[in-house]
Symmetry: C2
Subunit: 658 residues, 2 copies
C-alpha cells in the first residue's frame, strides 16, 4: 500500500469524542436543520427553483446560491459523521433544482436567471463566479461523501461554461471575479478529478488579477477592496475585504504549491506576515473595519468596534491550511487552531442555531444599538438565526464538520539520522500534480512523515511506509494538554511522526526522542503496533500583551490558556468589565465547570474594581475594591442573554514592589 | 444713572490685552477676511444674489445663507474691536443683496428662491427657519455695532412673514423648525427692539415642538435627532443632534427666564445635567457620534472616534450662558469657560484661517483616512480652510469676537448682612420683560450685584447702584490665576461684586471678606474709587479621572491646569502617545514657552514609554524606558502638521509603594 501524500481526507479521520465530537454533533443535528429551515423560510430554495416572480417578496439576492451551496457542503460533511437519509434527500432535491435550472450552456445562477437574465457576466461585483465556486465545492464534498457524481458533473459543466467565457472567448464584461472563491473551488475540482483544465482556469483567474484596468470599473471603495491594486504575486500586504483576501491567497498558496511558482509562494508568505503580525486580533479575527468588511491600517484593532467577520476567520484558517501544505511550519497550524477555537467558533452559539456575523472583543449592549445605527447598519447585540447576507452560518457549519480533514498530512521527509535532520522536502513540486509537493512514492532516500497538526479524541487511518496505519488520539484537549497517540500497524515501519508543539506552549514534553523544527516535534523511528506517544502540552493561564502600536490594547492584558482565548462576561462578573483591573501579581486558578456553557474550564482570579462616583470627571483618586472574577472561553460568550464582554482587561502596568 | 440689569453688553466691555485680545485680533484681522474669501470662492455670495443658474457649479446649498449670516455677525462684532470701513462696506454690500432679493412678503432664502421657488416652507429638514434665524442674529449684531437699522428692518419684515406663515395662517407644511436656531434669534430681536411679538413667536416654536406628529415626517434617523420625542418642557435628557439640542435649550432657558415658566426652566436644568454629567468630553465637546452629529448613549465618549463638533461646543456655551442668566451658578460659567478655552477654541488654528469641524481627543493620522472612509465621510487629519457644510468657521469667529458680552451680568441681590446672605433674586420674573428676571430698578431691600463670570485683561463700564462704574481687570489668565480688579467710580457705592471661583480651583483666595455661594465669591461692601480686588486662583496641574462608566478612559488620566485641558502631541513626544504611561508619582512642571504655539505654558513631566517588540502579541512582559514628556494646551493642537495627539494618557492605576 503506497502512501498517499497530502492531507489525510475527512473520510479517514473520525473524531470520536470530546470537544469536537460534541461540536460536530451539534452542527450535524442542530445547525444542519436550523440553517436549512431559515433558508427555506427566507426563499433561498424557491430562488434556486427560479420560482420568484417580480412583485413577490423574498426577491433572490445575488449571493443566495452561495448560501445554499455552503449548506449543501456542510450537510455533505455531516454524512461522514452521522449518515442521515433525510439530509441526503434534501440535498438531492436541491441538486434536482440545479439540474432543472441549468442552461444548456452550463450556466446556473438563481439571481441572474430569475431577475436579470440579460445581465449575465456583466457585473463583476455581483458574485456570479463566487456562487458558482461554492456550488463546485459543494459538489466535490457531496461526491466525496456519497460517491454520487450527478452534482459534480453538473458543476463540471458549469466549469466548462466559465472556462469558455473567461479563458477562451473572453465574452464576459470582466476578467476576474469581484469576490474571490472560484479559484479555491477550481483547485478543489482539480484535486478531485485530476483534470488540469481546472488548475489552468484557477491559474488564469489568479494570474490575471490586478492586471486588467477594466476590472476596476467594478470596484467598490478602492482597488484594495478586491485585491486589485497589484498583480497577486506582487502584493505585499493584507488589504481590503478580509474574506476575499484570504480566499484569494488560500487559492494562490495552493496554486504555488501545485505549480512550483516560488514568486507566488513568496507573495503568500508576505501577505500572511502582514496579516498575522499587524492586523489580526488576539482571537484570530481579521478585518477590523465594518466599512468594506476590510483590513484596517496596520495595528488598527479596535475591540468595541471590531468587525472581524466569522467568515474572515474561517477564510484565514483556509489560508493557514494551504500554507501548512506548502510548508509545515507550526505557525500556520497555530493560526488555524486560533481560528477553530476562537475567531471562527465564536460565530456560532452553543446550541448551533444562533450566529454572529461580526465578532467584537468588547461589548456593552446598551451602547451597541446606537453605535450600529451610527454606522448605518444594525449589528445585533445578540446572535441571530439568519442574516440577509447569511454567509457566516453555513460557513461555520462546513468549517466545523470538515475539521477532520485538517488534522493530518502525509509528506515525504529526507531520511537522516533519527530526528535530527527531519524536515519536509522542498515545498515546490512540478507543475500540475495535485499536492504532489508533499511527496512522490518511492522517492529515494526519503521517509514518510505524518504531520499531526491538531489534537482531538479521534481515530485516523493513513497509508504510511507502505501499509495501513491507524493512529488513535486520546485527549481532553483543549481543556487539558495531555495527548496519547497510539499506533496500530500490522508490521513495524519506519517513519517520522511530527507533532505540532504550539507556540503558546513553553515546555512541551514527549516520551520519545524528538527533534524540534519549525514548530513540530519530529519523532523518527521504527514504529511497532501498540506504540504509544505521550505528548504533554502544559497549559498555564497566560496574560498576553499587545504590541505597543495597538492603540486600544494599551495597558490591557488578554487571558489565554492553551489554544483558548478567554473573556470576562457580565453574567459572571457584573458590569464595567472594561474597568476591571488585574493586579500586578494576579493568581489564576482553573476550574472545570460542567454546568457552565456546556462545560468549560473557567479561569478564576482576584481583580480590582474601581469604585463608582458621581459626575463625569474628578481629580485623579481612583479607589478600588477587591473583586472575584471569572473568565470563560471567548467562543462561548453571548450564550446567556445580552451583557457586557471584554477580552482585553486593564492590567497594572508595573509590579508594585519592584 | 439706573442699573441696567442683565448682561453687560459687548460694546461696554473692551478686552485690552492678553490671551483674548490676541485671539480677537486674530479673528478680526485674519479670520474675518479668510472666511469671507472662502465664502466668495465657493459661491455663497453669488447664491445670496440669486445669481446661480441650473447647470452652473457651486449650486447653492440649503444652509449657505446661515454661513453668510454668521460671517456678518462675526464681522459686526469685529467692528467693536477694530473698526474697519472695508469690512463695513462688505457687510453693506451683502445687505444690499438681501434687500434686493427679499420678496415683497418678506421671504428671503438663497436656495429656495434660486433653486426651488415653489418649495418654500415645505421641507422641515431644509434649514429655512435656521437660515432666517441667523440673518436675524446678524442684523441685531450689526445694528448694535453700527446703529444702522436697514438690515434689522429687513429681518423684522422676515420675522413678520414667518410669524404670518407659522403662527397665524399655519400655511407651512410643518410647524416647528427641523434645525433649531430661529428661537434664539427671535428672542434676540425681542431683546433688541422690545417687541413682544418676537417673544411670542419664539414661545410658539418652543411650545409646539414635540407635539405635532406631522412634523415627524421630516425627521432623520429618529425623533430624538431633532428633539421631537417629547414636548420641550417634558424632555429629560440630552438627545440627538448636539447643536440643535443646545440651540433649542439655550432658547428655552431664555424663554423660561422671560416668561417665568418654571416647568420649562426645570426641563432645561434636567437636560443640562444629563449632558454635563453623562455625555460631555473633558474638553467640553458634546455629540460623540458622527452619524447624526449626535449625543451617544450615556458615557459613550470614544476619544479616537469622537465627533464633538466645534459648533456643538459653541452651542453648549450659549446654553450655559443663558443658564447663568437664569441663575448664577458657577457651574454654568465653568462649562462656558471649558468651551472657550478647549472644546470650541480647538476648532480654529492659531493663525485663524484653519478649522476643525470635528474635535477628537486622540488622533493618529495614519489611521485617520481609512477610518473616515469607513464612516462614509472624510475627516481630514488636518485643519481645513472651508467645508461644504461650513457652519463651524463663522461660528467660532462670532463666538470669539462676542466673548466680551459674556463676561459680566448685573443682577439684583437681596440686601442682607454683608456677604453672608448674598445671592440672586428669584430667577423667574414676570412675563415679557427682557431679562427682567435679573432685577427691577428701585426694588426695595435689594442691592445691585455685578457677576464676574470670566477673567481677562479688560475694561468694563457698568451702571451699578445708580452710577457709572468702571471695572478694570489685570491678569495673565489663563496662564496664571492672579487677577486684580480695580474699581473706578465718582462716588462710593454699596453693591455686591460676585467673582466666579471655578470648580477646578481648590483654594481661591481674595483680599476682601466674601461669602461663597453656588460657585461665586460674593463681596458686598461700600466700594470706593481705586478699590482693588485681588483674586488668586492657584493653578496646579491636575490629573483628572473619568467616571468608571466611560469605557475609553479606563486607566487613563487627562491633564488640566486652570481652565486649560492639555494634550500630548507627536511633535513634542514622538509617536505612540496612547501608550505613554504616567507613573503613580509623576511630577509636573510648568514652563512658559514664548515661541511654542504662539506662547503657551507647557507642562513638562517624566513618563514611561513601553518598549516596542516584534509581532502582535506576546506573554505579558512590558518593559519601559523613561521618557521626558511635554503636554500643550488642547486648543493649540494640530498647528504643526499632522501628528498623533492624545488627551487621555495611560496612568499607573495604583501607587507603587502603598
Amino acid at each position: 500500500m503506497e502512501a498517499k501524500y497530502g492531507p489525510v481526507p475527512i473520510r479517514d479521520v473520525r473524531i470520536t469524542g470530546g470537544f469536537w465530537k460534541s461540536w460536530q454533533e451539534t452542527a450535524a443535528r442542530s445547525t444542519v436543520p436550523a440553517v436549512y429551515s431559515q433558508f427555506e423560510k427566507t426563499g433561498r430554495f424557491k430562488a434556486l427553483a427560479h420560482g420568484w416572480r417580480e412583485g413577490e417578496p423574498d426577491k433572490p439576492h445575488i449571493y443566495y446560491d452561495s448560501d445554499v451551496a455552503k449548506w449543501i457542503e456542510g450537510a455533505a460533511y455531516s454524512l461522514h459523521i452521522c449518515p442521515d437519509a433525510g439530509v441526503e434527500a434534501k440535498i438531492e432535491a436541491l441538486i434536482d433544482l440545479v439540474e432543472a435550472g441549468m442552461s444548456a450552456d452550463g450556466y446556473f445562477n438563481s439571481y441572474f436567471q430569475s431577475v436579470e437574465p440579460h445581465m449575465r457576466w456583466t457585473r463583476r461585483a455581483d458574485h456570479e463566479l463566487y456562487c458558482a465556486g461554492h456550488f463546485m465545492e459543494a459538489a466535490v464534498a457531496y461526491y466525496e461523501a456519497t460517491g454520487r457524481r450527478r452534482f459534480l458533473d453538473l458543476m463540471r459543466r458549469s466549469g466548462d461554461h466559465i472556462r469558455a467565457v473567461f479563458a477562451e472567448s473572453g465574452s464576459a464584461a470582466f476578467e476576474t471575479p469581484g469576490h474571490e472563491e472560484i479559484e479555491l473551488a477550481l483547485l478543489r475540482m482539480w484535486r478531485c478529478d485530476g483534470d488540469s483544465k481546472w488548475l489552468g482556469l484557477a491559474r488564469h483567474f489568479i494570474d490575471r488579477r490586478g492586471k486588467n484596468p477594466a476590472d476596476l470599473r467594478f470596484v467598490h471603495f478602492s482597488p484594495l477592496f478586491t485585491q486589485d491594486h497589484a498583480p497577486v504575486a506582487e502584493q505585499a500586504s493584507a488589504e481590503g475585504h478580509a474574506v476575499r483576501f484570504a480566499y484569494l491567497f488560500a487559492a494562490a498558496t495552493e496554486l504555488a504549491l501545485a505549480t512550483g511558482d516560488e514568486a507566488l509562494a513568496e507573495a503568500c508568505r508576505r501577505v500572511w506576515r502582514d496579516a498575522v503580525d499587524k492586523k489580526m486580533y488576539v482571537t484570530g479575527g481579521v478585518g477590523s473595519m465594518a466599512r468594506g468588511e476590510a483590513f484596517g491600517p496596520a495595528y488598527y484593532l479596535p475591540n468595541f468596534e471590531a468587525y472581524a467577520e466569522t467568515c474572515a476567520s474561517i477564510a484565514m484558517a483556509f489560508f493557514a491550511r494551504r500554507l501548512s501544505l506548502l510548508e509545515p511550519r507550526g505557525e500556520y497550524a497555530d493560526v488555524f487552531e486560533l481560528q477553530m477555537y476562537n475567531g471562527a467558533l465564536a460565530g456560532i452559539s452553543l446550541d448551533g442555531k444562533g450566529f454572529f456575523y461580526e465578532n467584537p472583543l468588547c461589548a456593552r449592549p446598551s451602547d451597541q444599538e446606537l453605535i450600529d445605527i451610527s454606522r448605518g447598519q444594525v449589528r445585533p447585540a445578540r446572535r441571530a438565526e439568519v442574516f440577509d447576507t447569511s454567509c457566516c452560518p453555513p460557513n461555520i457549519l462546513r468549517f466545523i464538520l470538515s475539521l477532520g480533514g485538517c488534522m493530518y498530512d502525509v509528506r515525504q521527509a529526507p531520511r537522516g539520522t533519527a530526528a535530527s535532520a527531519a524536515g519536509p522536502a522542498s515545498p515546490i513540486a512540478s507543475e500540475g500534480r495535485p499536492l504532489g509537493a508533499l511527496g512522490a512514492p518511492g522517492a529515494p532516500n526519503t521517509l514518510d512523515a505524518l504531520y499531526v497538526h491538531h489534537y482531538a479524541e479521534s481515530v485516523a487511518d493513513v497509508a504510511l511506509a507502505g501499509q495501513a496505519v491507524r493512529l488513535r488520539q486520546e485527549t481532553s484537549y483543549p481543556w487539558n494538554g495531555a495527548i496519547a497517540l497510539s499506533v496500530s500497524a500490522q508490521k513495524p515501519f519506519t517513519a517520522t511522526i511530527a507533532l505540532r508543539a504550539p507556540a503558546w506552549c513553553g515546555s512541551p514534553s514527549l516520551n520519545y526522542a524528538s527533534a524540534e523544527k519549525d514548530g513540530y516535534l519530529h519523532v523518527t523511528r521504527e514504529w511497532h503496533d501498540g506504540d504509544r506517544i505521550l505528548l504533554e502540552l502544559p497549559m498555564d493561564v497566560a496574560e498576553l500583551e499587545a504590541n505597543p502600536l495597538v492603540l486600544q490594547d494599551a495597558g490591557r492584558a488578554a487571558l489565554k490558556r492553551g489554544p483558548l482565548v478567554y473573556c470576562a462576561e457580565e453574567a459572571d462578573n457584573g458590569p464595567r468589565l472594561h474597568d476591571l483591573l488585574l493586579g500586578s501579581e494576579t493568581r489564576y486558578e482553573t476550574a472545570w465547570m460542567p454546568n457552565l456553557l456546556g462545560g468549560v474550564n473557567a479561569i478564576k482570579f482576584g481583580a480590582l474594581r474601581r469604585k463608582p462616583f458621581d459626575g463625569l470627571y474628578r481629580k485623579w483618586a481612583p479607589e478600588y475594591e477587591p473583586a472575584t472574577a471569572t473568565a470563560v472561553p471567548y467562543y462561548a460568550w453571548a450564550n446567556r442573554g445580552p451583557g457586557e464582554m471584554a477580552v482585553w482587561l486593564m492590567k497594572e502596568a508595573r509590579r508594585r514592589a519592584e
